[in-house]
Amino acid sequence: MTEQPIPASPIEADIETFGALTDKEPQKPPRSQWRDVWDQFRKHKGAVFGGGFLIFITFAVIFGPYLWDVDPKGLDIRNKNWRPIYTLLWEADAKAGWAHPFGTDQLGRDIMAQMIAGGRVSMSVGWLAMGLALVIGTAIGVISGYFKRMDFWLMRFTDLVLSLPILPLVLLAVTLFRQPLNSRFGPEGGMFILIVAVIGLTSWMQTARIVRGDILALKEREFILAARSIGTTSGKIIRRHLLPNVISPIMVSATLGLATAIITESALSFLGVGFPSDYPTWGKLLADAVQRMQDFPERVLLPGIAISLTVLSVNYLGDGLRDALDPRIRGR
């Protein structure tokens, strides 16, 4: 009997003839979705710089106090009003030196240490407030998108909150609730909780709207129908199938939220309703320096540049993420 393979069906014969689809395994290793996202993200120069700077500034404020272990609140009145080190470039006899690279303020506190401590506060307020806003926004978005009964009322509520005048209300809440929280958690802890809560509670609305819109569209897709038909409970569907699919809009609004939270915190400190006076944050340092900015412009510039660069990098990061996470733009 000759070994003549007989094609089982005409389709297989065609395959044999044209030599197509005969490859037994993929010739390129499989690529995950996140690999694609990363490749697209890398093409956006601004986003890469932004992400890099954000990581740098986060590490700098976390580990900075261990490397530069000068007490930010330590008074040293003999060495007050030092100029930053770069002043030596054009003024050889300026009061400056490596002991205080960014100089000292009018009470002799080291500005570099203050910047690091201030950055710690500003960044942690930013991250926590952003996280709070995301949790609230995602929860409300998912619930109102998934459960039809809640949708009307939750969205009316979101519209209501959107039409509240935010900055006046934030100012109002911070000035009015400062006392009781301070007496319970201490002047710094109380203010921290208050500012994080106020910013988080007033900035979840955009996330909620975006998440709701996406959930409404996803809910009608076949894979959700399939999941439901094998008896998956609503909670499981949300956790296992819906949330992973709305992760990209959530990440984009997270970056926007981080930027707004940092700016709002600094604005509150600038207006004098933020943290207590000896507690450095970037906005506070800037506000304190405004009175004497004619003589010491660097004290305004350093915290101002820190805030602006951080927010700028976060915004660029968000821009890049939006492009990278959008499958319609990706790969073009």
Binding site: L164, S266, V290, I307, N315
Partner: protein, 345 residues
């Protein structure tokens, strides 16, 4: 369209009532006591009398009701009286005295009616913030059009970078920065906005012009960043549409295609964004007014907050809320009116 507008108007009434309730309750919950500054030697019964004089003796719902009456009924009556008595437009009408003897919303700081102070402060805010809005729009629209037309060009990249900067640099940094550069080092512009300055001739107009440059530019940077971004996005959406190819194929000049066909369609979302930004003009820019010492509405709110002047804070915040709700409505209606494809009913 008309029914939609009417329905939205009706729906905005409960919205506004709810917002006023939220603000009122927030103020009530607040622990700040207006009697905190009164000396300890004042006996408690006198303190109680002072409390009642401020309208604090009554239960909360009565206070809220009275505030509603004062704001929605008595203040409009005062306005009607003003129209018929002193305004030039309607003074031919018989003089009315509807509001005589009625209690208005009184500020605890100055003991004068809150609305009178608001009316005094409004022009400064409108001049500075309103002008900056106009300047911002005038700069933003050409930038948006050109950077969409030359997509990915150097101009587009630079425009994107500048809008990013406009988004990222907060006004409490740009303000002091400009003051350091232009008032301190160069000495060209004054650092404080003098609201008592009266324009009578060319020289005083120049002074007014110079003192307005910095606050207007600081605010305009933010407006420009926002609106040019929207303008660019809207233009990009429209430039690839079929009707643009048709217009070009008909042999229309490029200027007509872009500036008439595309621009008109792209303006629809931009106009609504502009309308949505309007309440911020009346709300004043709290931070910028503070930096340049403009005594507008934003600064009024800030001082009232620090002075624990609850009626003033309540009224101002509520006026902002009314404006936001109103301009949201206007934006929705405009959107429908400008774009016949959108049907609300």
């Amino acid at each position: 369209m008309l029914t939609f507008t009417l329905r939205r108007l009706l729906l905005s009434i409960p919205t506004l009532l709810f917002i006023s309730l939220v603000i009122f309750l927030l103020l009530q919950l607040a622990p700040g006591d207006p009697m905190a500054q009164v000396p300890l030697t004042v006996p408690p019964e006198v303190k109680q009398k002072m409390r009642e004089a401020l309208g604090l003796g009554q239960p909360i719902h009565v206070q809220y009701y009275k505030w509603l009456i004062q704001f929605f009924w008595i203040e409009p009556l005062v306005f009607v009286d003003y129209l018929t008595n002193t305004s030039t437009l309607f003074s031919w009408l018989p003089d009315t005295a509807f509001s005589e003897g009625k209690l208005r919303v009184i500020s605890w700081q100055t003991r004068s009616p809150v609305m009178d102070i608001v009316v005094q402060r409004m022009p400064q805010t409108l001049w500075v913030v309103g002008l900056s809005y106009v300047v911002g729009i005038v700069i933003a629209i050409p930038i948006g059009i050109y950077s969409a037309y030359k997509h990915y060009s150097v101009f587009d990249q630079a425009g994107t970078f500048i809008t990013m900067i406009g988004f990222s640099i907060p006004p409490f940094f740009t303000g002091p920065l400009l003051i350091v550069i232009f008032s301190v080092y160069l000495g060209w512009l004054p650092s404080i906005y003098d609201t008592t300055h009266v324009v009578t001739d060319w020289a005083s107009f120049k002074v007014q012009f110079f003192q307005m440059i910095m606050p207007v530019m600081v605010l305009a940077l933010q407006t420009t960043a926002q609106i040019s971004r929207y303008m660019r996005g809207a233009m990009l959406d429209n430039l690839n549409q079929d009707y643009v190819r048709t217009a070009r194929a008909k042999g229309l000049r490029e200027g007509v295609v872009v500036m008439v066909h595309v621009l008109r369609n792209s303006m629809i979302p931009v106009v609504t964004v502009i309308a949505l930004g309007m309440p911020a003009i009346f709300g004043g820019a709290i931070i910028t007014e503070n930096v340049f010492k403009v005594n507008g509405i934003g600064q009024l709110l800030l001082t009232a907050l620090f002075a624990n002047d609850l009626p003033m804070v309540m009224t101002l915040t509520f006026i902002f809320a009314i404006l936001i709700v109103l301009f949201n409505l206007i934006a929705d209606v405009l959107y429908g009116a400008l774009d016949p494809r959108i049907r609300y009913d």
